[in-house]
């Protein structure tokens, strides 16, 4: 169906990427491949980001829901297909327990938009040419690599990214972005 095809976009410059910080809500539909030292799995991901909460649905191949994660500043709830439910005030601890790896969700919200998390140090990676042509950066012990962008209305956001840190590799492919306002 046509809505899936969002045109490729040229890698946006720093200023243009920053504009995405103004977006209050978005929905990202894509696929995630997770590799940890002990396990590997992949799922279709639907991530709804709102001002007060993030909701991530992980679906298996036949669009059957495998798990739903709800996250806000320091609260997380996890629910899986076989009825396992858990809540915690320590998001990373619950993620590690249920999914076998932990990634800072507060920062991930920004990383998926090719933005460093605010008020934390980060190091842009210069490409070999030295000029600021790459959106990649390192932050909080994680490396962010962006491999293609796509256009959605006035916004430009990543289409493919690899997020790596602490022995974990997350590969994310975005099929569709939708931004509010």
């Amino acid at each position: 169906c046509s809505w899936l095809w969002q045109p490729d976009a040229v890698m946006p410059g720093g200023a243009e990427r920053e504009r995405l910080r103004a977006v209050s809500g978005w929905v990202m539909e894509g696929r995630i491949a997770v590799r940890t030292p002990e396990d590997a799995w992949s799922a279709n991901l639907e991530w709804r980001h709102g001002a007060s909460e993030d909701r991530m649905d992980l679906n298996g191949p036949f669009a059957q829901r495998a798990a739903t994660i709800r996250y806000s500043k320091n609260f997380i709830s996890f629910e899986s297909a076989d009825g396992d439910r858990a809540e915690s005030g320590d998001p990373e601890a619950l993620l590690r327990e249920r999914l076998g790896f932990a990634v800072p969700l507060e920062a991930l919200r920004h990383w998926v938009l090719a933005l460093p998390a605010p008020d934390q140090a980060f190091t842009p990676r210069r490409s070999s040419g030295g000029a600021d042509v790459s959106a990649d950066f390192d932050q909080a012990g994680w490396s962010l690599r962006y491999d293609g962008f796509m256009q959605e209305g006035q916004w430009t956001a990543p289409r493919k990214m690899v997020i790596q840190g602490r022995g974990v590799v997350l590969k994310l492919i975005v099929d569709r972005w939708r931004f509010d306002g």
């Binding site: 169906c1 899936l4 696929r31 995630i32 590997a40 298996g60 036949f62 059957q64 739903t68 297909a81």
Partner: protein, 187 residues
Amino acid sequence: AESPVDRLMRSIDSSKTLQADFTQVSVDELGSPRHKATGVFYLQKPGKFRWDYAKPYKQQVITSNGKVWFYDVDLEQVTVKRMDKAIGSTPALLLTGQVSLKDNFTLEQQGEDEGITWVKLLPKGEESTFKYVTIGLQGDVLSGMELADNFGQLTRIYFSNVKSGGKLDPALFEFTAPKGVDVFEDQ
């Protein structure tokens, strides 16, 4: 006359091989259509199943000797899990006859419409990862399936160009990872 449930059982047991095109539509808990995907499905009894998604992106689910290979072409990753561990391997389990329907499900006739008779399968086990599956038969031919997960999401699968009894290339059910693709198997 033969009851729909018996017809379903006979049909699943009879056809040794099956091939069909499919259209899969998922509907979320609010009833709004979410995703549509299309592809081709192959079945070779006992236990071999292949589900090739062609659109909107290429994914393959291949089941053979009790394992499920899941390959997402764009992600360049293959995971190999035991069939009972693979979340969402339900259609494979049911159609390949790997699971005895009567032992594991309560079967309910759902009547007939548009020439299709529907049978609902309700899992007997508690920690089933789905609520129910409904299978539709047109005569003896597989026509549709509906999967309801425990989150209220529905997946409807419509089959067309169904061919049964034909010879299928065994290579369809052997997975060889393309170069550069990582394969991860559960220990």
